[in-house]
Structures are given as C-alpha cells and as structure tokens.
C-alpha cells in the first residue's frame, strides 16, 4: 500500500526520470556545485604553483578534526536518507526520529569546526599564514556556511514534520532537504582529502 503510494504519487515525474524534492532545490544545488567547482579550480591552480606550501601546510592541520567532520557528515546524511525511506514506508514517527538523529549529528560539525579553528589559532595558523591556509580557510568556511543553511533547513523540516506536514503521498520538502544535505556531504567528501589526506 505504502509502496504503491510512493510509486503513484509523492514523486515529481518528468519525461526522463524523477526530481527528488523539487526543481527549485536542484537549481540551488546546481549553483552550489558551480560555486565549489570554481573554488576547487582556485585550489588546484594554487597547489600546482606552490606544491611545497601545500605539502607542508597539510601536515600542520588536525587530521583527527577532518576525519571527525567527515564521519559526522556521512552519518547525518545516512540518518536523513533513513528518514526519507521510513517516510515512504508510512512510518512517520520513525522518520521523525531519524531526522532528529540527523540533526543532532549534523550539529557536531560546527562544534568540531570551532574546536579545530581554536586549535589552529592557538598554533598561530590564520588566514594570512600562507597560500595553503588562505585557500583552506576560504574553502572550509564556505562549506561551513552551506552546512549551516542545511542545519537550519533540517530544523525547519523537523518542525513541519512534527506537526504532520508530510505524508507518504507528499513529502517533497523532506526529500528536497535530504537532496541538499547529500550534495553538501558530497562537497565535503571532496574537500576532506584536499586538505587532510594529501600532505
């Protein structure tokens, strides 16, 4: 019954496939990808021109912080995907619990970032410590801003979900939020090795 509802409605069908969430969200995700693609080009041009700065810079960053943030992003993304799938099965209460879990884990990201930056500043590492750190702060701060929009989005969707705003037939808002959070997760999965793995 629930599966039929998912098949017949709750999906925006287009000629060639479905749009998870809504078109507006995918316009936003496309813009987000373009923005980060430009920032990645800046990173690679800087890396090609200053290989030593990138070699030495990465060794001064906390690999533990990078790994913790990656695991937080991946886990919150997983929880939010579970929230969507349980909603499709008609398990509304479970879906809300998964979303709360996704929010709690996602909130760990700004906390981990705060601790990382505090540790950096204590070591005298700021945005003017060289080309590597300028690019590092610019890219990671930008990602943090995008993640903050996502966390606010999770809060909004959670409020709507708690008041019965979504059903098996119509949970586009939940799927749109999930799509944005997964896209932000993909961006972090690219950023992580750039600064924390490739020393």
């Amino acid at each position: 019954m629930a599966a039929e509802a998912v098949l017949e409605s709750g999906i925006e069908t287009e000629a060639g496939g479905r749009i998870p969430g809504n078109k507006g969200m995918w316009v936003g995700i496309t813009c987000e990808f373009v923005e980060f693609a430009v920032l990645f080009i800046v990173y690679f041009v800087a890396r090609a021109n200053f290989p030593d700065a990138f070699q030495n810079g990465a060794e001064r960053l906390s690999r533990v912080s990078g790994t913790v943030i990656t695991l937080l992003m991946v886990t919150s993304s997983f929880f939010i995907a579970c929230s969507v799938n349980t909603m499709r099965s008609g398990k509304r209460r479970q879906s809300i619990y998964w979303l709360v879990a996704g929010l709690v884990v996602a909130l760990g990201y700004p906390i981990a970032k705060y601790l990382e930056i505090s540790s950096n500043l204590a070591q005298g590492i700021n945005g003017e410590s060289g080309i590597f750190f300028t690019v590092y702060y610019y890219l990671t701060f930008n990602h943090l801003v995008h993640a903050t929009w996502g966390i606010l989005g999770i809060l909004w969707v959670l409020v709507r979900h708690s008041f019965g705003g979504y059903s098996v037939e119509d949970h586009h808002g939940l799927e749109a939020l999930a799509s944005y959070w997964h896209a932000t997760d993909i961006i972090w999965l690219i950023i992580f090795p750039m600064f924390y793995v490739l020393a």
Partner: protein, 106 residues
C-alpha cells in the same frame, strides 16, 4: 506482476551498507595519507576513493539512477571533476604552473 520501472527505495539495508563503506573508506584514506604520503601514486588512489565515495552518496542516498537525466549528469560531472583535477595536478602540476605563469606574463 513485475514492473519494469524502478521505484524509490524503502529499505534501510542498502543505506546502512553504503554508510559502513563510506566510514571504512574515510578511515582508510586517512591511513593511506599517513603511510604513503611520499608515494607518487597517492593522488591517483585518493582520486579513486573520492570518486567512489561521491558516487555511492549519489547512487544510494540521492538515488541518482532514478532521477531526471539533467540531475544524473550534474552529479556525474561534479563528482568526477575534482578527482580528474587531482590526477592532472598530481602528475602534471609543474606543466600547469608553467602554463599559468605564461597567462600571467602576457
């Protein structure tokens, strides 16, 4: 009666397996960075891991196989973009820097 159309998933099993693989690959790539930080082939391996992780999120969390062709292509291009640059600058970084300096001079 079977249907030819794929439907969005309701099971949590593929999501859980994807999450586990993503966690393992994250820890693995960190270990590789520490053990083989001087190896010339490290950028290639890191690029492959980034591509695999991005593709897994797209395929299993966003269910890109069911999406509109534009979304499918957008995800494929974006996920391949950085790993490609990673390989190019990893192996031909010097040449890229030279070309860049030529543009700046003229």
């Amino acid at each position: 009666m079977t249907t030819l159309h794929k439907t969005p998933a309701t099971s949590l099993v593929p999501l859980t397996l994807t999450w586990l693989v993503l966690c393992v690959l994250t820890v693995l790539s960190l270990g590789l960075g520490q053990w083989f930080h001087a190896a010339a082939w490290l950028p290639l391996l890191v690029a492959v891991i980034v591509w695999v992780k991005g593709t897994m999120v797209a395929r299993y969390f966003i269910e890109s196989d069911l999406t509109h062709p534009f979304i499918r292509r957008l995800l494929k291009v974006f996920i391949a973009f950085a790993p490609l640059w990673l390989i190019l600058t990893g192996f031909y970084g010097g040449q890229f820097a030279q070309w860049g300096s030529l543009f700046l001079k003229h």
